[in-house]
Symmetry: C2
Subunit: 438 residues, 2 copies
Amino acid sequence: VDHFGFDINKTFKQRYLIADKYWKKDGGSILFYTGNEGDIIWFCNNTGFMWDVAEELKAMLVFAEHRYYGESLPFGANSFKDSRHLNFLTSEQALADFAKLIKHLKQTIPGAENQPVIAVGGSYGGMLAAWFRMKYPHLVVGALAASAPIWQFEDLVPCGIFMEIVTRDFKKSGPNCSESIRRSWNVINRLATTSSGLQWLSEALHLCSPLTDFQDFRMLKDWISETWVNLAMVDYPYECNFLQPLPAWPIKVVCQYFKDPKVSDQLLVQNLFQALNVYYNYSGQVKCLNISETATSSLGSLGWSYQACTEIIMPFCTNGVDDMFEPRSWDLEELSDDCFKEWGVRPRPFWITTLYGGKNISSHRNIIFSNGELDPWSGGGVTKNITDTLVAINIPDGAHHLDLRASNALDPKTVLLARSLEVRYMKQWISDFYTRQG
Amino acid sequence: VDHFGFDINKTFKQRYLIADKYWKKDGGSILFYTGNEGDIIWFCNNTGFMWDVAEELKAMLVFAEHRYYGESLPFGANSFKDSRHLNFLTSEQALADFAKLIKHLKQTIPGAENQPVIAVGGSYGGMLAAWFRMKYPHLVVGALAASAPIWQFEDLVPCGIFMEIVTRDFKKSGPNCSESIRRSWNVINRLATTSSGLQWLSEALHLCSPLTDFQDFRMLKDWISETWVNLAMVDYPYECNFLQPLPAWPIKVVCQYFKDPKVSDQLLVQNLFQALNVYYNYSGQVKCLNISETATSSLGSLGWSYQACTEIIMPFCTNGVDDMFEPRSWDLEELSDDCFKEWGVRPRPFWITTLYGGKNISSHRNIIFSNGELDPWSGGGVTKNITDTLVAINIPDGAHHLDLRASNALDPKTVLLARSLEVRYMKQWISDFYTRQG
């Protein structure tokens, strides 16, 4: 449970998945998925890329679950009980878990010992893959860090960039789309001034629980914002189910309801409902919208909320001009107080860059940073080559780690290109490893 | 206090020393001593090399004290109270302290921000310097790791090598020297079989407290062994006071008492006393020998005993053939039980190599590993170049990090050469840094 202290000598069961169908003991490799904030089976099922390249790389696939997510709970049902039980939920502990797991696999699987391991991850898992290569270069020959916003910390990138990219996605997915959304906030605000307005809003949006007070109203707006953010993340070129079941290019579908800039307030809200319905009810089975949920329950929202209160402090802001949201500045103090109330801990916003180097990472080698240009997380990502071996691969038509998804007939050419480049680098790392071994 | 967990938000005062006499804001550098297991003032006073090169490198000197040593006690007088208070004494926490201190200095000392930092350390501090460069390459451009036995773990080197080197030092410092010492153990053992023998032994060795039982007797032998080890470490070419005040080439002085292979048992013990007296009473002021002390009290023996029970698990063994000691195998279980009794913790002997890479460190850059060939710790050190930028400097006539000591008229040529090479590498790192800055 605690790699970095000796007082607690407790252990826990970490879940991992292995596939060795295409693995070759002779000249093979190991692709190691550095699990992120959720159930590892779900990530495994959404990382088809690893399955698609397994044969070519003669690779064993390993998917390691991140502690405090899925079934890898250090204290079982008590894991989220209080700050004492949560104390071992950090990226450093997770990386140390991965290190020990790799050593364990190499010691116990005959033929694995002298094979190169490549870390693969997306999003927070992509950050972990990159950080793992930085901190444990003796265990992995390289890392594919897909959609990893390793620079979304401190002031390494402007805090507004994330929402600007979300806005850009809506802007280009339909005429008047981002403008209509920008306008919607004022409409909602006006309706919320009266209780009859709130009631009408609740009904027009088919909410499961009617809005009753100011706090509900704040929550509604956050929920709507997060919906647009999530849509930007999963604006994939084909029908699929990642955060939610969705049509191909879902933002285009959403934007069909935001074409007319001159509709009445009420019609705008009714259109807003239709738009939200694309995200929350593509199946047509949903009876009402629940503003306390925005994505799949395979993501561990409790654990992530704690991590976002401790290490993973990412400044976000909006100004309503360069983006389609209500202006909101980054308020560390407010976050800190909220975190203390919720978890009894306070953020350490400068720690991640102290530990992992911030922008000063050029002494490392063999990391691919891939980013989809539709993905708001690309704003905090590495989108330019740093050195010959710390390379950026940008995917103009890609959303959040599209490259890690299984190959699809509707994939844009740019992601095919990205994947083939990624494979080329990985093969290079593998052959360099075997050359060094002699 | 805890860089790796958020439940405890306590801080502590870390002591550090700064000298900026030769520091230049224009084109200068920062030499950062990664403090080891003792009082930082003592290390500062025994690291004349940094003072000697400060002007040439336009360097600010910083000496950072290691947590749990000197005055840098996280819980004041309670720091060593129990395993709960000791839980934050690890190399990882110490490196994180150094990282935060460097960031603090760069933020608060005008002119320091855009200067290259070089980590310098000896012995355990040398391991820390090397590990710091490995784990925080964004904070230091390189490291001088003097007499750093980073491979004295697991089975990376033979467990007997350390005592073999000690023995070699004695063997070549006088005829019959190591043979006499090898013989001495049996003589002592024979005497210890009777209580009158024990009493005679206590008197002949001028012990402050007479030996009364088997445990005392074990302690006596460990104390004598450790004395020979310490002498091998500080077999310097000139009179000085590091672990104890000593003459030049102290082993030669000691070996004058072990010339005759055929003396009686009693004379051998009397000679043994004279030899021990060289180490413990060079000043001539000491009235009796205390077998519970072997070195300066500036070293923090409590803290080190804990570290040697947790992370710093170095296998040692002797066979009495290749070395001059009684045969003793490496017994991890015994150590583990002793550690649990003393500190309530158990060793994790595989952790250091998992964390820092063991022999597989070739992906790192800009570390100098210097070793004196007289130094028993060189057995676990890096004594061959690993790559162009991970280089070994061997000093045939050097004992434990002689190169870090102040220049002395009696220095052998080999250490002068080593120091000039070290300066050349450091200058290269500094100029590379400024070249990259453009």
